[in-house]
Subunit: 323 residues, 2 copies
């Protein structure tokens, strides 16, 4: 649910007039995304998304995000294309916020992904990595292991009020994950937040990737680990190995995993569960009661973390290692 | 900000397949309206709004609302047209909610209406009344004076915690409004909630009326009184007589007010302020802290009520009585 910043009539008119996109026909806030304000802008020349970047996005990262979308589009990946104004600027300011106009992408995100969606996702993710690995800009992952520890420490006195013993459990996990974390793996720009609501489908086919605002330079296999967490568990918390198998097979149909990536997968998946758990815990503990946006329940990721802790090798995720 | 009800992938697919509207291209929740869940549905044949009616709307009223939109459209008024499914049904059920698919209307609502918007609104409202007066269905106004009193009484012990003396002041107002309320005036179906976010403009011209879910059979002049409250005050609480004059002149350009309507206008405007004040007070007092939708501040309408109390005749609203 996201429209945090209202745009005045005059500001919108002046903004649109500085682009070569035709006459505005409609302008509506979209109830999607929790980080930024998103508007659907229709003109007589097409449909666009106007995103106003709110506090959580660091303005200095925006040229990277916009450049990445432009690069991936040019490589044939289905993702929104930033639109430049008449002066050639992609990054603008509106209503006191940095903002960008991007093309509208057809398609819908899948509320409950099925096996065939996971297969499509896997193949699409591999194509994304093959392209993004050639992108010339870099951005450090702001949510690495050190950040997980800092976030946990910042709310450490409240973790046990959530579940007794959880604090000790999580710090022990952190230590184990750090010990087995791989030093080096094939790397490049990853999406890093590829949840179902960031992937569009049309007629069962993947039609678009959106929301690149966590993209960063990191291990490709870590992106897969995030997807295993986000796409392959059922709402009752159980792991669906059929979905994971489809995802991994789809991925390898376009990009073959290296042995080191396969070995590291359980640790990466455990780390990915930790990464989303710590931010959800933080939001849960720090969101004032009555806040506009409801924080996501951390319990889901506590369960996932515990699941990955028991995994010994990637075959348990359904990875097929052909010779 | 409104998407209260999520629609599953399967439900949406089955729903769209029962209409002759083509293939779905996108489906997004819209952050507008506080009563219902609204989705923008784009197909290869056009754009539509899918509204899921939430608890506040009485299901038995829906045939009236949908029939009214259809009638007004057929009379050339710019308003959404309900779309029938292949079986001829306009009213359906989706995700456990009554729902309707209506055509998408181009245009934008004006965040800060100017004098020329008020002039357009006045003329448009008169055209709406000329047409809606011929609509064959009736719906009683559920928010008449008796309802105002009931609502106030239901939260009477909390009113003074809002402002000392307010309770006595409001009940005294109720009595005075009741005494001077007109017995009969030209009547027909009125919109009854014509706030700026329910009127679309394109290039300065009124391009659409939306959200007919308070429409009812009542005095036409009461609709004007609601608009005087909703369009002709500045954010600092001051009355802008230039806007009111433009609104009333615009109205009379299409439908001439009768002497009895002119005489009653101050009472109707005072009543309209009371009507929105009591529902805002009720929501303010009864919305649990931390609710998803922030209730609107009643203070704005306390000020408006006090303003109208001092008005002696319609000329003070800028009404020009030509002979």
């Amino acid at each position: 649910m996201a429209v945090y910043t209202e745009v005045s009539d005059e500001d919108l008119a002046a903004f649109v007039a500085s682009y070569d996109i035709g006459k505005v026909l409609s302008f509506k806030g979209i109830a999607e995304g929790v980080e930024n304000s998103n508007y659907l802008l229709r003109t007589d020349q097409g449909s666009f998304i106007l995103t106003l970047y709110e506090k959580r996005v660091d303005e200095r990262d925006l040229p990277f995000f916009l450049g990445l979308m432009e690069f991936l589009s040019s490589e044939g990946l289905p993702c929104p294309l930033p639109v430049s104004d008449r002066a050639g600027n992609r990054l603008r300011t509106l209503a006191g916020r940095p903002c960008a106009l991007i093309t509208f992408l057809d398609g819908m995100w899948v509320r409950r992904p099925r096996v065939e969606h996971c297969a499509e996702l896997g193949a699409g993710l591999a194509r994304l990595h093959l392209a993004s690995g050639r992108f010339h800009m870099e951005r450090q992952n702001a949510l690495l292991m050190t950040a997980w520890r800092e976030i946990l420490e910042s709310c450490s006195d409240k973790i046990d009020s959530f579940e007794t013993g959880l604090k000790a459990e999580l710090f022990a996990d952190l230590g184990e994950i750090a010990q087995s974390w791989p030093d080096d793996l094939p790397r490049g720009v990853i999406h890093a937040d590829l949840f179902p609501d960031n992937v569009f489908f049309l007629g069962g086919k993947l039609s678009g990737f959106i929301d690149f605002y966590f993209a960063c330079t990191d291990f490709f296999a870590y992106d897969i680990a995030i997807c295993l967490n986000a796409w392959c568990f059922e709402t009752d918390g159980s792991f669906n190995i059929t979905k994971a198998k489809a995802l991994l097979r789809g991925y390898q149909s376009a990009r073959r995993l290296e042995p080191a990536e396969i070995t590291a997968l359980p640790t990466l998946a455990r780390g990915a569960a930790m990464r989303f758990l710590v931010t959800r815990l933080f939001d849960w503990i720090n969101t004032p009661e009555g806040a506009f946006v409801q924080p996501k329940d951390p319990v889901e990721y506590i369960k996932k973390l515990r699941f990955h802790r028991r995994i010994r090798n990637a075959a348990e995720y359904g990875l097929e290692q052909s010779t």
